[in-house]
Structures are given as C-alpha cells and as structure tokens.
Symmetry: C2
Subunit: 702 residues, 2 copies
Amino acid sequence: MTAAVTDFSPLFNPRSIAVIGASQDLTRISGQPIRALKAAGYQGHIYLVNPKYPELHGLKCYPTAQAIAAPVDMAIVAVPAPGVAAAIRDCGKAGIKFAVVLTAGFRETGTAGVEMEAELKRTADAAGVRMVGPNCQGMVAVPSRVWACFGSISEEIELSPGDVSCVFQSGGFGYAIVNLAELQGVGFRTCISSGNETDLTTPELLEAFLDDPGTKLAFAVIEGTPDARRLLDVGRKALATGKPVLIWKSANTEAGAKAAASHTANMTGRADLFRAAFRQSGLIEVDDVEPIVDIAKLVSQGRRAKGRRIGALSISGGSGIVFADRCVREGLTLPPFSAATVAALSKIIPAFGSSENPADVTAGIFNDMGLLTKTLEIVLQDPGIDQLTIMLASIPGAPAERAAEAIVAAAAKTDKPMHVAWSGRRSKSEAAYRILEAAKVPVIPTPVRLAQAAAVLARFEEDRIRLGSRKPPAPAKPVALTLPTGPVALSEAESKAVLQAYGIATTREVFVAENESLLAKVAKLSPPFAVKVVSRDIAHKSDVGGVKLGLRDVLSAEAAAKEVVANALKAKPTAKIEGVLVCEMASGLEVLIGVVNDPGFGPTVALGLGGVLTEVLRDVTYRIAPFGIDDARDMIGELKGARLFAGYRGQPAVDTEALAAMLVRVSAMAYAMRDRLAEMDINPVFVGASGAVAADALVVVK
Amino acid sequence: MTAAVTDFSPLFNPRSIAVIGASQDLTRISGQPIRALKAAGYQGHIYLVNPKYPELHGLKCYPTAQAIAAPVDMAIVAVPAPGVAAAIRDCGKAGIKFAVVLTAGFRETGTAGVEMEAELKRTADAAGVRMVGPNCQGMVAVPSRVWACFGSISEEIELSPGDVSCVFQSGGFGYAIVNLAELQGVGFRTCISSGNETDLTTPELLEAFLDDPGTKLAFAVIEGTPDARRLLDVGRKALATGKPVLIWKSANTEAGAKAAASHTANMTGRADLFRAAFRQSGLIEVDDVEPIVDIAKLVSQGRRAKGRRIGALSISGGSGIVFADRCVREGLTLPPFSAATVAALSKIIPAFGSSENPADVTAGIFNDMGLLTKTLEIVLQDPGIDQLTIMLASIPGAPAERAAEAIVAAAAKTDKPMHVAWSGRRSKSEAAYRILEAAKVPVIPTPVRLAQAAAVLARFEEDRIRLGSRKPPAPAKPVALTLPTGPVALSEAESKAVLQAYGIATTREVFVAENESLLAKVAKLSPPFAVKVVSRDIAHKSDVGGVKLGLRDVLSAEAAAKEVVANALKAKPTAKIEGVLVCEMASGLEVLIGVVNDPGFGPTVALGLGGVLTEVLRDVTYRIAPFGIDDARDMIGELKGARLFAGYRGQPAVDTEALAAMLVRVSAMAYAMRDRLAEMDINPVFVGASGAVAADALVVVK
C-alpha cells in the first residue's frame, strides 16, 4: 500500500479537471460530469478530452490528456472499460496525479473483468496515478464546487458546505445518505463514491479526510475491504486528531453478503472482527442515517464532553424520563445536581416540576422565559455535569424563539456541549431554528436520538484518553521453528511446542513416543494425569476416545496410554500414531483462546469462556493482533460472563492478569507467525488462582 | 374497573362540549381550549360555565353545568384543584358522561394531593362521569375538530386527520410525538393526554380505540400503570381486530423511574414484565418516534403480510445490502426468487445489476422506466414473497415521478404490501410524493427503517395466527390449604406441600420430625439421598450447612440429619427446627421457576436456566399467570441458553414438555393463590429425559 504521505489536495481541491472520454451527449455518464461541474459553479479550468471532437460544449477538446499542455490536477475517466488503462497511462504522461474512474465492467462482471482490473491497477501504479473507482459514481467536493460525478447526485448541486467528509462503496446508496443527511442540516465537504477500490481504499481515504483541516468528522459506508487492518490506523488517527470516524459496516448477514457479492464483489468480512477493530481503535459504529446526522451535528459544535455525566432540563417531564432511560442505556450518567444547584432551582421551578436531574422546568416558561434563563445559569454552574441537554418538546413560534435566545445566550458563556431536543414545526418556528443554527447549537428532533449522540460524544473523548495512549506493541521476532510444509494440523505435542517457543505456559507434561517407556519418562510429573494420543491425523482426540483424564498413578497412566492408542486406531486405522502425551491435570476456570488469520484483518485473537457460555451463547470477543496488556484486559472485561473471573458460588477469584499476559503473548505469536499460521485453538486454558496454563492446543499451519 | 362496554363516542366525537371554569383570559389554561375549539373549527355547541360571568367571548355563560339544560356530551374541567370534585358532581347531575380534567395539583404534589385525588375518584364513580386526567394536557379528536386541550398543541390545529389514535401520560412529550409524526406524514384520529389516569387508564383507552371503526392503529407512551394486567386484554383485542397496538414503555431505568416519580407519580413497574406481557399478548414495543411513524404508514396501507418472506428491488445495490442485513436481523427472510422469476429478470436487468433477491435493477431506469415496470410485474408474480420493497435511493424530479407511476400501477394489481424506501428531496419531487401518497403506497426515508417496519407488519400477522387462538386458561380453583397467617416464608416441606396440592411433582421424599426415627420413615426411598434441615427460620439452607447431598445409604443419611440440624442451630441458635427432609436425589438439567406477585401485573411466572446462565447472564423469561401450554413452550424456547434442552456435549435431550406442563401448573397455582402469595422459588427443578421434578421450593405468603 502507498503510505498516507500522499498529498490529496489535487483530488479534494483541484485547480483544473480533465474529463477523459467527454461525450457530446450531456445526459450520458461521460457527459453528466461536464454539466454538473458547470452547474455547480466550479471555478477551475475544465479540459475535455476526446479524439473525436476538436471542440465540445463551447470548450476546446483535446485528443489526449498529454496534449493539454497545462497542469491538470485531476481527471474524470469515463471511457469504456477496455480503454481505461490506456486513459490512465495517458494521465500519467500528462502529470495528472488523481483519476476518478466512473467506468464499470471490471471485476464485478466476472473472470475477464478481474484480470482487466488487475491490469488497470498495475498501469496506475506504473503511471503514478492514484485512482478512485472504477465502477463508482464519482466524487463531490462541496466547498470547491467539484461535482465529478454522474447520476442523481450530479443534479443535487444545492448541497451546502460543512465539515463532514465521507466515502462509500455504493454510490447510489451513499449519495442518498448524503442527501438525507443534508436535508436534516448536515453540511458536507468531500464525498467519494469509491466503487471497486482498486487503488484508493476506504481506509486510505478516511486517513486523507483526517489530514484535511476542514474536515471535523468523517464517515464510511463499507461492505468490506482487503485493507481492513488499516482501519486500526484510521481509528488511532481519529483519536489523535480528535475527529470522530463513523463506520457503517454493511453486508453483515448471509443475505447481505450475497447481495454484496453481486454488487461490488467486495470481500465483506466478518462483522464480529470489524466490531472488534472498532472497539480496539476508537472507531464508531453506526447503522442508519439518523445516527450519522445526530453525531455530526454534535461534533460540528466543536465542544468536547469531558466525561460521561450529562445534565438535562425539559419543559415536559415525559421527555426527561425517556431521555434519562436512553442515556443510562448508552452508558451516560445523570448525576444528582449539587445541593447548591437543587436549592437554587427549587426556588424558581414550580412545585409540580422537578429540580433534580433531569430538571422539569414545566411549561411555565410560556409565561416567563426568565425561568429558563435562570435555570440554565444555575445548572451550567454545577461542576458535576459535562454536557447539557435542553428538551423543548415541540413548542412553536414566539415561545420557541425566546427559548432559543435564552439557550444561545447561555451557550455563549460555557464551553460544555449544549444541545437541544426539539421538534417544533419549522414552518412556525423558522426564527428559532435560525438563532440556534447561527450559534451552532445542535437541534435533534427526539430526546432518544439526542441521548444516543451525546453518549457517542462522551465515549469518543473517553476513548481518546483510554485508547489514545496505547501503542500497538512492536512485532515480536519470529522464533525459528521447524514447521512441516504445506497445510497441516500439528499434533498437540507439536502445537504446544510452538506455544512454549513464544513463552506461553502449558501444562507440565512429557511426550512418550511409541517405542519409549512411559514409566521412565513421567517420573518428574505429579498425579493426577491426563493421557492423550498424539497424532496429526486425529484432530478431535476426545471424540475417538483418545483422551483419559484424572489418572491417579503411573500404572493407570500406562494402561490409559495403551487404551487411547487402541481407540484412536480403531476410529482411524490409517492414523499415524506418534505416541502419547502425559500431562499433569490443571484446574481453574476454563477459557479458550483462538487465533483466526482473517483475509482482511490478518491474525486476530479470540477469547471465550469455556463450556456452555462459548458454545451455547457464543460469548466470544476478539482483538486484532498484536496488542498490549490493556487491550487484553478489555477483552477479559467485555465477556458477558466476565463476572465468573471474580469467583462464582464460592469459587476463588482467578488470575486475570496471567490470562491477559497469555493473550498478549498469543497475539505476538499470531502476528510473528502470520505467514504460516492458518488458525489455532488453545482449549481449554485453565486460569487458576495464580497463573494460567494451556491444557490443549491445536495449531494449523498453511 | 369498569368493563369496556362504555360507549366512548361522546368523548371521541362529542356533539357538544362544556368548558367548566371558562376564563375571560384566552391565554390561561382555562381559556386556551375555548380559543382552540373555535380556531380548529369545532362544529358542535360550546357551552361555557363560570358563575362569575353571564356571557364570555360572545357566548352565554352558565353558572353550573346543570343550568345548561341541553344535552352535553363532554366537559373540559379547568377549575382549581380543590373545586374539581364539585365540578364533576355538577357534570353528573347535568348528565355529562365524560370529563377531561386539565387541572393539576393532585397526587403528584404529595400526601394531601393523594387524598384529594382519591376523593375525586369516588366522586366521579358516584356521579357516573368517566374522567380523563387530572393533571393532563387534554385531548384532540382530529376528524371532529375537538381541540380540548391547552399548551402548544392548542395552537397546532393543522394536524391532518388519519387512522392513528394514541394516549400518553405526559402531555408535553406526547404531543411532541404527535407533531413530529404528523410532520412525517402520519394522520391522527384521537389523541389523549391521560395525566394521572385516576379513572380512565391507558389500557382502557387503548381498548376504546380498538373499538373505534376509524382507528387502524393505536399507540401509547406509558410510564407505568396499576392497570398493567389489562394490557394483556388490549393485546388480545389488537390481534382479534387486526389493529396493531404499539407501546412505548418509558421509565425503564432507575434514572428514568426517578424522573417519573416526580412527574406523574405513576407506578413505573418492571420493564422485563412489560416486555413479557407484550410478547404474551401480541403488543408491539417501540422506543422512539420513527418506528411509530414507519409502522403507522405501513398499517395505513391496509394490506396484510401473509408471511415473513420479503422481496426487494433497488436501483442501487448498496441499499439492497443494508436492507437485506436488517431484514434478517429483524426475523424476515429474503428467499431466492423462483427460477422463472430469475430467468425473466435476467433478460431485462443489466449484467452489472442483480436478478436475485434483493434485485438491483440499476440506475438503468433513468433511461428506461419500462425496466422498473417490467421488473415489478415479474417479481409480483413470484408466489414466494409476501411483501415487496422498492428502494429508490434519493432520485429526484422526473425520474422519481415516473418511478412513482410505475410503482402505483403495480400496487393496484396486487394485494401484497408494497412500500418504498426513498429520500428524494420533496422540493424537487413533490409530484412523485403526491402520486405515492394518493395511492397509499408508504414511503420511508431509509431502507433500514423500512426493513424494521416491514418486520413488525409480518410479525403482527404471524402473532394473529400464533397467539390469536390462545385463550388464557380458566382460573384454577384454589385448593383449600392451611397456611399460616401474616407474612412468612414457609419451610421447604410446607412449600412442597403447596406445590403438591397443585399437582406439581416434587422429588420423592419424607419429612422426619425432630422426635421421629429416620430409619423407619425412609424405608420406601431409594438412595442416594439428600438431607436438608426444615425450619421456617432458615430460608437459605445451603449457606448455613443445612443441606447434605449424595448420601449413599440410610446410615449416612441419619448422620447427615444430625449434622444439618447442628449446623443450622450453630448459624442461628434461635431457629425453631421442625425436623429434616430426606429426599431421593434427582438429576437432569437444572432450571429454576419463580413467581413474583407484581403490583401491576399480579402473579407472574419466571423461568431461568440453573447456575451460571441465570446468575451471571440473567437469562430469565416471564409470563403473566395463568397461561397455557403454548405460552409455556414459548418461555422455554426464548431462553438464550435454550439449546441446552436439546442436549449438550453428549447429554440426552430433556423432557421440555414435562417442564412446560409444570410451568402451566405453577401459573395456575400462582393465580389461584394470588391473594396470599408474595413470591415463590422452585430452585432447582430437575428436567430429566422423562419428567421434571421440583427439588427445592420456597413459598413466601403475605
């Protein structure tokens, strides 16, 4: 991947644009961008390129981009698919750094398309041209009036400028989101339909948005990406820059993934791993348009919530109740106001209202707006709240206008986020809306939506502190191991040797080869023992009677050894038996640690509680490897059954620090071995009152 | 409670209205309804009542309601709190059947208010006046132009008529919902702010809405109600009438409940029991305004989804993906189209689109709207789908208008629900919106919201079949039992005797009193045994060493009996020991069955899986007692760990039918004993391969 040192200003704010394959027909895909650029009022130079015409639409038409003989920042490519590579080569020769390729007909159409797309990527790399698309609807850069796109967005030139940038793989759907968000008051900066992402991917574009000083918030709608691991860098950069990045990951179900396969042929990936990456790096997951709108409005105010404590005032008690409910569900707290605050409020709020948080100032403000002004003053002086919501129900007209004035005046005297839940009819309340908008006080139509967005604001600031200081650990040096070639499941003994090489504790045990004496070798172990058959050909030992547990002495172990070998051979007569493993029995809380080597995220570590919790309830959590001790602690803490670690029904608390340390080592191992590791299971791990040991392991190499 | 035979037409469609306490000042609470009724164009007669004036606002003013001497259907009462009871008495004498009491200052203000409110209720009952409120914002009946209310809703007279009726305890918040929903295209019929619900409660009003022929859907926003059990009747009536009832239950968190306590002083109740009642009776839970809007629009179309299978067409693949994701999450299926459908679609849909469900007809419709028309025709002939969604992204203008025409034409030829996800700018697409609205084809702005609403439509129809035929069983006859008086926890032996009296199987066991011979009494039991101390004073026997398990013979049992008694006395020297219980050990999957006697819902049965699932993950489900075998089976099936019943790690499947039968008996018992039962725990119940037995029980009487 090209590093993010690329200067994206020629793409986001081009001084001149070439349209390669410019059409005479302005209704065609190769004509719509010309019409849109002109209609939107793009002020840079537009160069048309088409060898068929000397002139088009009143502009000189060039046979090639190279023939333009003037600096061009960006090209829109709309020639038929077989000609796209040549057009990109031409752009390279002309010194054009970015191309937006609208043309479809690449990998989404089948095998021939896949090859043509690979060739296109090689061409772009060689030509030094960074490419958006192909198979995309193009981009819009609102402040610079760049409408380099086709379809209905090419006619939506009334989008107002703002501080939100976004990228989406589906142009039609993405621009519908842009439209709907804009109708609800969100202003946009750069919007990119990224299509097949042959060169520029969602993660790289998100990083570019974070580098753009005018962008305060970025979002992406993503079906999937082979570049998934880079999302972690995006998240870390979001925390570092203080600009939230929202991700709407789609194609999370079989039905969705099937639809995606026939759409952009994007690799959709596992939703649980995406979610883990979001938690790990501070990215924010969204799943509809409204959350994007609401969070963008709050972020646009430019204020930071210093903690999770929210204060609320309403003119209607019912709003305060649903607001409180949702705040708590989303992890905010409504702390009691200070005694001084309550005392001061009690003097002015009517008896049928409430001076506690959430305060109910009652509809009394209709007669006396001073009530709202004074309440705001008192509550904003309370040191115990980090942000403040005012709920105005749907009051219209003059009272709404006066309330807006009171709120704006109060907001000017504080740096705490202040926001309004209000659904007054715009037709009756235009003045009030304008007052609030001019002061950048966000208005969200319902208390529930506002609570959700306020919680995101608070969590993001918390993540900046909590996650922002965490650096991914330096990759561990791979240990020299003699691994068999080709895809194979290692035996338990071999698997445990791999773990031990990376410092992961296993049960004390000895391997007894077929021709060795068990009695001699187990002398140093203490009973009770477990005896297990060792064979690469038997992956699920228990299922074939290949495991005997709780053997009280060496003689029993010896008998068990014969038995497990016999059972294994009975179940699979062709199995090559290497010997048996005699292990000391471990005890403690059973957990399992797994590794998957995901095509998008690479090596990823899973943690689950043993037994019923994992198998019946799928209580499993993930982190992308490698990671440090804090991430490991987070994994342990976020299991639904995490309370078991603290002791359950009289059991002692277990050594979660030892488990966390083991997770860190597994993550280091998984990353170091990423080129060979297909998957791994350590099941069970016994976490005792002191220490944690791997009691069984299965490493599959590729 | 008064049964629902009340004729509510004088309230919903009054021919004449009296305003008791009419004010000279139209800006006061007692003046606003007069202004609102006139402004809204109410056509019936308005009688003003106030002994201070002979005439007011150009109308004759009467000293009392009785003095009107003409039939009056409904009164608006706005006199100060101490005078409300007298006003209601006056209404009764005047033959007025309904009063809407706006006045506040009752139980929400404290002890004196509680008594005044109780007196008001007695007065209304005696006078034969049914009462909305007090402490409410009043009601609006849109088709009859009744604006019997104050506050900002008294100025929102532009609400358009429709088929949705609603009730909410918080007027300010409720009318904000009405406003916001109306702005999004929902038409209303009767809207009632119910305030303190001293007489008419949310459940009774919902039933009245279901009886109203003009109401197609009803919703309630409810903090809590002592009448909670009646919600089950509402749900059953909703299923019987085919009119969905949506409930937004608020005050579900400690913070929310605290806010509610200071608001309407409503008993808020346990959210998990409300949720159980919804599932049990077919009520639909909502938690924000948008779901209400979306479901109301779909219901208003008047079409029924015959199953969960949904078909989808989009002009943008990305919409289809998120739509499919959400449909699946909400329990819908997107079945493959039939081979004939796919074959026909493949002939017309471009290669870069998709002929599978969700079909992607592509933006090709911009050039050829016939593509959409033909696709609709083909898909609607597919017998495998029950409803159809068309996703138009945000296409504006003429293409939107042509698409709307194509959709409306197709909708006219089918009775399947058809709906559109579209966010075109209204300012550019007014014609298209009007075409769809005129044909009652619902338009929802995002595919996600539409998927959610379509799922509700399908589930409601499914519930009509699945739940609609279930009748609550006839209450069991109470068994004559000698129970101690006063609140007391029965001993295990006494508790099990209660269970046995209601036909609930317990472990085979004998009670051995302090002075009896254990050896003689246990002769008929087979080991292994459990021995437990019996004492009302020891509720948690295990905690004090009062239980010994797995005793292999009678002599061990005898020794254990001495030990458990000694342990109990050591832990609680004052305990009155009655003897010991010697039980045969049972085995199987452990579950627990509990009974709570909720102040709102009455006796309610809980089911949880034993051990870690209940205690760590709170995997518990509820049903309001009494209930039949189908509800019991639902309880078993909806536990998160339900898969354990089918056998786990080689365990055999257990007898869920025996467990279901036990749940039914417990529910019958709980209802029969509702006047005495405080709570009950049967923990554990062992569900074996055949049969289920209660191994321990604790009955607490009140």
